[in-house]
Amino acid sequence: MVDRTKVIRFVAKPIFFLAALGPAVYLTWAALTNHLSANPLSDVTNETGVWTLRFICITLLVTPLRNVTGWNALVRFRRMAGLYAFFYGTLHFLTYVILDRFAGLVDFPDGIVSLTTAHNLTTSIIGDIAMRPFITVGFTAFVLMIPLAITSTTGWIRRLGGKRWALLHRLVYATAIAGVVHYWWLVKADIRRPMIYGAIVAVLLGFRLVRKIRSVRVKAALRLKPDPTTIR
């Protein structure tokens, strides 16, 4: 008979995998076939950034949704969602390095492929991260995802131990907040879109906070209540 574990593994997960790859495939196709705006380089940068934020939201949605619906199977999609956030974040960072920093060097005194170019590019990136707050915070959001991507394997969960692993992976909260701030600080006048993400992240993190407060209260209440067996 059909085994739900197998359904998830061989049907649901591959579907999720392909669906999550969709935006990257579409973006590549659209860029190559002239279906983006007159400034496709800017479109690619924006879209990869927004998709990073979306996958962070999806990752953060797993636990609350699981708690509310009782669908424990959801947790089996969390790693993939998180790794897709890292995937789009990496693409976003690379577009920044190539389309913004590299293309912005303007001069290539020793040719494009040269040590001078590598040096100038590095200086330009470091300077930019240090100088521009919205880049600083965006870069932070990205860097914080790296240890999470590395330790996403079952082996690392075992090595770290569930509790420590879970603690480490709370870094994603910081990534989510920094990602929203990064978006907020870069828009010109219309903050409606960053606000949408800000609201979603606030709800998802707020849910956790409320649960945490409740569980602390319940524990405290249980501790206060005298155990009837010890009553003399």
């Binding site: 359904v7 007159a38 060097l105 006048a189």
Partner: protein, 326 residues
């Protein structure tokens, strides 16, 4: 009459336990998929929907447009295409995304357009586009256009020197500045329903800037009537200033006695000033103005002082601290 008893149901017709459990599983999975779809749908609202837009339709050429060879020197830079100039626009009255104006301004009606001239001048009143162009030669001028967002284009505008029209309005000696407003049409401009900026859009120039020979009132593009998304029927081009100074769809010109508060300065005074002269030495607080991306190119270019028009305009600013008066 024969009535089947419940026991007549054959055991093979009874849904086996595994199957109905699988069905429940299927319903759950379908529910999850639907939930995910809704979630993705909500998130999709959080960004521009990418799709190609149609450029402005071509129309009959304007009569008697003469190229101005002295104003067509862009150092051999290539003109941007009709498609680029009419699909990539900042015109918040028609939406905040670059492709919004091309789509949402399509049915904008500009027939019978009137420009209301008022303030410190002798010839107040309403001027039609024909009145404004009366006795003028419409010139084609190829100008570099630099947006404050660090992208740029090279655009063949068709227009007349603003100074010619100002002289006809006969401003008084008290007038120090000219204030321009974009039409505010809540019926035809869907973007003004949002409060992303204060409407109507207001811009201004000092009198000497307004009278400068490079400053033009634009009525055409590539020899055709100005497309709606580019500010039909009449807009400003001030090529040494950032694009937001080039006020579109002008319906009001006022001669005033003090510096008007322009819309972007009102929106973020630490980021946008009154002058908005293109200046690679003065960065936007959040990004560099040292380089720009010409639409259609991969490598960026160095931004030129006063957008490359320094020889013609810098004398106007010799007494001005350009870092403070950005």
């Amino acid at each position: 009459m024969l009535i089947k008893k419940p026991s007549d149901i054959r055991s093979s017709e009874i849904t086996p336990k595994e199957l109905y459990q699988t069905r429940r599983q299927f319903i759950k999975t379908a529910g999850m998929a639907a939930g995910a779809a809704v979630g993705v749908g909500v998130l999709t609202k959080g960004a521009a929907v990418l799709h190609a837009v149609q450029p402005a339709a071509h129309r009959a050429k304007l009569p008697n447009v003469k190229p101005n060879p002295a104003m067509s020197n862009t150092n051999g830079e290539v003109k941007n295409t009709w498609e680029q100039i009419t699909t990539y626009n900042n015109y918040y009255e028609f939406g905040i995304d670059k492709n919004d104006p091309a789509e949402l301004s399509r049915n904008f009606k500009t027939d019978g357009w009137m420009v209301d001239v008022s303030g410190e001048c002798a010839k107040k009143g309403k001027y039609s586009i024909d009145d404004i162009l009366k006795g003028e030669t419409v010139e084609e001028r190829v100008y570099r256009h630099r947006c404050v967002e660090a992208w740029s284009m090279v655009i063949p505008w068709d227009g007349i020197p603003l100074s010619n029209f100002i002289k006809r309005c006969e401003p008084t000696g008290k007038a120090t500045h000219v204030k321009f407003s974009t039409a505010l049409d809540t019926k035809q401009m869907p973007g003004v329903r949002s409060d992303v900026l204060d409407w109507p859009y207001v811009e201004g120039l000092r009198m000497d800037e307004a009278m400068h020979p490079l400053t033009i009132l634009v009525v055409g593009l590539y020899g055709e009537p100005l497309p709606n998304q580019d500010g039909a029927p009449i807009r400003l081009a001030v090529p040494w200033k950032y694009g937001f100074k080039h006020v579109k769809s002008i319906n009001k010109i006022e001669f005033v006695t003090k510096e008007p508060l322009n819309t972007w300065q009102r929106s973020a005074p630490n980021e946008y000033g009154f002058y908005a002269n293109v200046n690679p030495m003065v960065d936007h607080p959040r990004w560099s103005q040292g380089t720009e991306r010409r639409i259609g190119e991969f490598l960026k270019r160095r931004t030129l002082m006063f957008n490359g028009y320094a020889d013609q305009v810098q004398s106007m600013y010799s007494n001005l601290d350009l870092k403070k008066k950005f």
